[in-house]
């Protein structure tokens, strides 16, 4: 409770009581009779002075008593330099997110952090964390100022997104591992978008005192950015205007209405320019077509000309790959013509010629090399020529992809090629009165991906299945199940490749899926996924991951290596890492060249999270709530925290103890005065 709290003010008002009693209230003295006043003289002034002197002591005691009681309930405290600085950990967190590129924010943050570090007592332990993308712990708790300083100086601004929720989780984890009081100094621009949707994620442990150092010099800066890009990943024909175009959304935050010049740049050369009128704090769409690009990977960028608060986000990069249509090997039984028909029709309808289906009867595949195809489809083929089966196994282990469907023929054989197990059971729903439907669908699976699936289970609910195979789902990811629990779509990584198993057929005999629109979408996405075209180009976000290989361990004598070249042309993976690292984090904005372990190469455009472009800071209320009311004022934040280690010692107990002593003294003195008065009477 502070001194301005209502109850404290009421308590202070009671201090007037002893003043009234001692100074304002008329003092009553009982007259004493004497024989004669003949020899007496009046002595009023002296008398008054003496009485006041004597009663002032009692008055002072009573006044002090009330004051101490009021003080005790106001819970006063003193802030003193903590002698036990060893117990407090100084946690310095520097925000290096993309928004810190605006103005001098990052250099200011580093400078303030260095000043704080310089004022740290020699014996105090400190630890440095880096916020931006993911929270990185740069040092262990140490009193070594030189190490801490060099670590701080080595921090560079990044392209990731500052997430205070991630900071809260990290600090909670650190505090659980090493409990103790912590002073967390956060040097950041306090972006509003950095606060997570769930505030509980950012809540800090009770022993952690948060001190915010806001390095944003203005509350909100006008900033335009390319919010989103809609561009083809692969382009077959630049003149095909249905696909050969790029659509960009230009957005402004805290901006007035303005006309901006937008350029489309390919491999550093500006191909097209447009002017677009962006409303205040609004969005505008600009379109570039056709895309006159060369074969191979084209490094494209949509750029906003001119300057603003954050020039780094004025461009958005992406990659468009121009290539010829890819072939898909479709192996089927000689008697099965329907599956190729349905699959090919759906493929043509979805990909607009990006893939060319090459149906081949199983008896004719012996001499075919699957490496010449984007991927291979085995439609109801459980009996493969041994040479081709071996070839497919090699193909799979080196990174190839096979899509296998099990139709009526599969039920006649116990062995299942490539999968590594036998058929367990045949589910023949035709014999029962009701057919099976798709029960569960994993819409995050690339082949079934839907952003907002409808109530009809994303379109899968209408498909009826009459015949399905039960296979061993171990070591496989089940992407869809029938209503009776039978796995319908499974993926098993084999070597560097993928084997996708559809537990029913691709014709209309075992199910009526080919007759439903969702089949086209399924074929399209599955084809893109298995061919790897989605992975090989396009656009990603900073701090997303790419999978370099399927498994981290390899038992082959010849190790498949992967390679990454970052936007600066450096190779972040060491030789050892290139042989075993499974995933790689895209930590920088720009173009990455990646050579996967399966032998394929890709160029990927990486952009910062567009939430970083909104430079609006979080409100003071949110800051206070986050710091549990202990957030320092901006003036205090600007001042380097000298000493930084302060201990708040409550004086409540001392005030009450002193009040008790004063109460005893008051009792003694007042009793003495009363006794004197009785004697006088």
């Amino acid at each position: 409770m502070g001194f301005l709290a209502p109850w404290s003010l009421v308590g202070l008002a009671t201090l007037g009581i002893p003043i009234f009693v001692h100074l304002l209230r008329k003092h009553v003295v009982t007259p004493r009779p004497v024989s004669s006043l003949m020899f007496f003289e009046r002595g009023i002034q002296s008398s008054t002075r003496h009485r006041r002197l004597r009663y002032l002591l009692l008055f002072a005691l009573r006044f002090l008593l009330l004051l101490l009681i009021v003080l005790a309930f106001a819970d006063p405290f003193i802030r003193r330099f903590a002698s036990d600085t060893h117990s407090h950990l100084l946690l310095i967190v520097v925000d290096r997110s993309f928004s810190m590129r605006a103005g001098t924010r990052f250099s200011d943050a580093k400078q303030q952090a260095l000043s704080l570090l310089a004022s740290k007592p020699r014996s105090q332990r400190a630890q440095i964390l880096m916020l931006g993308g993911r929270v990185e712990v740069l040092t262990q708790p140490t009193p070594d100022s030189n190490l801490l300083r060099s670590t701080l100086e080595g921090i560079q601004v990044g392209d990731g997104q500052g997430n205070f929720g991630a900071l809260g989780r990290t600090v909670r984890t650190l505090n659980e591992a090493a409990p103790g009081p912590v002073d967390l100094h956060l040097f950041s621009d306090m972006q509003r978008t950095g606060m997570p949707g769930n505030f509980a994620d950012a809540v800090l442990p009770p022993h952690v005192d948060l001190i915010l150092h806001d390095v944003a010099k203005v509350s909100a800066s006008p900033n335009w950015t390319v919010e989103s890009i809609n561009a083809p990943v692969e382009l077959l024909d630049p003149k095909d205007t249905t696909k050969s175009h790029v659509q960009a959304v230009i957005a402004g935050s805290s901006t007035p209405e303005a006309t901006k010049k937008i350029s489309f740049v390919v491999d550093g050369k500006t191909l097209l320019s447009r002017e677009v009128k962006v409303p205040a704090n609004g969005r505008a769409t600009v379109e570039f077509a056709p895309l006159d690009i060369k074969y191979g990977f084209n490094r494209c960028e949509v750029r906003i000309e001119g300057d603003d608060a954050l020039p780094a986000d004025n461009g958005s990069v992406f990659v468009v790959r121009r290539s010829d249509p890819q072939r898909i090997l479709f192996v089927h039984r000689a008697a099965d013509e329907r599956s190729a028909l349905y699959f090919g029709t759906a493929l043509n309808a979805a990909s607009h010629g990006a893939f060319i289906l090459q149906p081949v009867a199983v008896e004719q595949v012996t001499d075919l090399d699957p490496n010449k195809f984007a991927f291979t489809v085995l439609s109801d083929v459980t009996s493969l020529p041994s040479i081709f089966e071996h070839t497919l196994e090699q193909y799979l282990s080196k990174g190839g992809s096979v899509f296998m469907a099990l139709g009526l023929d599969a039920g006649r054989r116990a062995h299942l090629p490539l999968w590594g197990g036998d058929l367990q059971k045949i589910r023949n729903f035709a014999s029962s009165e009701e057919s099976a439907v798709v029960g569960q669908v994993d819409f995050t699976y690339p082949g079934l991906e839907q952003a907002q699936p409808g109530r009809d289970n994303g379109g899968w609910a209408g498909a009826k299945f009459f015949y399905a195979m039960m296979v061993d789902p171990s070591h496989a990811r089940v992407a869809a199940r029938l209503s009776d629990g039978t796995p319908l779509l499974l993926e098993k990584p084999i070597g560097e490749g993928h084997l996708l198993l559809f537990a029913s057929g691709l014709e209309n005999l075992t199910n009526d899926l080919p007759l439903h629109p969702v089949f086209v979408n399924f074929v399209d996405k599955t084809s893109r996924y298995l061919s790897g075209s989605e992975q090989l180009s396009g656009v990603r976000m900073v701090d997303s991951f790419v999978q370099l290989r399927n498994t981290a361990e390899t038992n082959k004598s010849v190790t498949a290596t992967s390679e990454v070249i970052d936007p600066d042309g450096r190779r972040p993976l060491s030789l050892a890492d290139s042989q075993k690292v499974q995933t790689f984090r895209l930590s920088r904005a720009g173009f990455y060249q990646i050579h996967f372990a399966n032998g394929r190469s890709a160029v990927i455009g990486v952009n910062p999270d567009r939430r970083e472009s909104n430079l609006e800071p979080m409100s003071q209320e949110i800051r206070a709530l986050w710091a549990r009311g202990k957030a320092r004022t901006p003036e205090a934040e600007k001042t380097p925290v000298a000493g930084t280690k302060f201990q708040y010692v409550s004086l409540w107990w001392y005030a009450m103890l002193l009040a008790f002593v004063v109460a005893v003294m008051e009792t003694v003195f007042s009793t003495r005065y009363l006794g004197t008065q009785r004697e006088e009477l």
């Binding site: 004497v34 024989s35 020899f39 007496f40 002296s46």
Partner: protein
């Protein structure tokens, strides 16, 4: 017997008669053991005749034997007259302890009356006054005089103020014989005024003795803090401080006592200061010495 003269002990005795008897009996029995004086009507001494002496006092038998002329002297051979002037003003009711000044004065007067009437066979009377004569009992040796005197003392409750001139004017008209006049008061008046008023009695041949009755608190007042004091006679009040009472007041009171004593002695008046915590034998001793001197 001395303890019976203690005023504190006497204060517990309700009867003035008994008080007076106790005091005087105790006092006289003490004196009988004294070699100094005898108080009978017997022979006292011989003195050589000097010219002018009354020949009636010559011891002719001795002259016949020795042919020397000596005068034979007796003590108490004649009766005297005692008049007590008792101050009964309001100031006399003050007392920090028992007895208050008025009671002490009454004990004193009663003891004098007892001694005078029962032991000395003197005529005794009383005048109770404040600013006027409130009670007057004519000096007499008649039967029951002591009772009347004690009754007058019983009724002498303090009231009003002190004025010496009015009662003295009245007393001059009443006193036809010479005698002993004892004035019992606290004498809160200018000493010059008091002496001027009383020396008239002296001029008429009376032996005048002033018994100055004061409470110990009046002589040595102790004040622990500032206080408002109220005059019992004028009802005026003033605020005083202990420092003044401890120093200046005592000086002024002592100067007053000393001036009164000096002026009284200069005018031929006897003076005796009587704090109320003192035994009463000093009073009786003074009376007897005065009576002795009168002879």
């Amino acid at each position: 017997m001395q303890r019976f003269l203690d005023p504190t002990v006497l204060a517990n005795i309700s009867s003035l008669d008994l008080i007076a008897k106790t005091v005087v009996d105790g006092f006289v029995s003490g004196l009988h053991r004294s070699p100094d004086f005898g108080f009978s009507q017997e022979f006292a001494e011989y003195r050589a005749y000097v010219q002018g002496d009354d020949l009636r006092h010559v011891d002719w038998n001795l002259f016949a034997r020795t042919e020397r002329c000596y005068l034979k002297r007796y003590k108490g051979e004649t009766n005297s007259q005692l008049v007590v002037m008792l101050d009964a003003s309001n100031s006399m009711q003050y007392g920090s302890r028992k007895p208050v000044k008025a009671d002490y004065a009454r004990y004193l007067a009663a003891s004098l009356f007892y001694l005078a009437i029962r032991n000395q066979h003197d005529a005794a009377g009383v005048i109770v006054f404040d600013d006027e004569v409130r009670e007057y009992v004519q000096p007499s040796m008649r039967q029951g005089q002591l009772t009347r005197l004690l009754a007058a003392l019983e009724q002498a409750e303090p009231r009003s103020r002190t004025d010496f001139f009015k009662p003295l004017t009245h007393l001059q008209a009443l006193l036809h014989r010479r005698g002993i006049v004892i004035v019992i008061s606290d004498f809160y008046e200018d000493p010059e005024t008091i002496v001027q008023a009383l020396e008239v009695l002296r001029f008429r041949g009376n032996d005048v003795v002033l018994f100055h009755v004061l409470d110990p608190q009046e002589l040595r007042p102790e004040l622990k803090g500032p206080a408002i004091l109220v005059d019992l006679e004028s009802q005026q009040n003033i605020e005083v401080v202990p420092e003044y009472v401890a120093a200046r007041y005592r000086e002024k009171l002592q100067a007053h006592i000393e001036q009164l004593r000096t002026r009284a002695q200069a005018a031929g008046l006897g003076y005796q200061l009587l704090p109320t915590d003192q035994p009463l034998d000093a009073v009786l001793r003074e009376y007897l010495s005065v009576r002795q001197a009168e002879r």
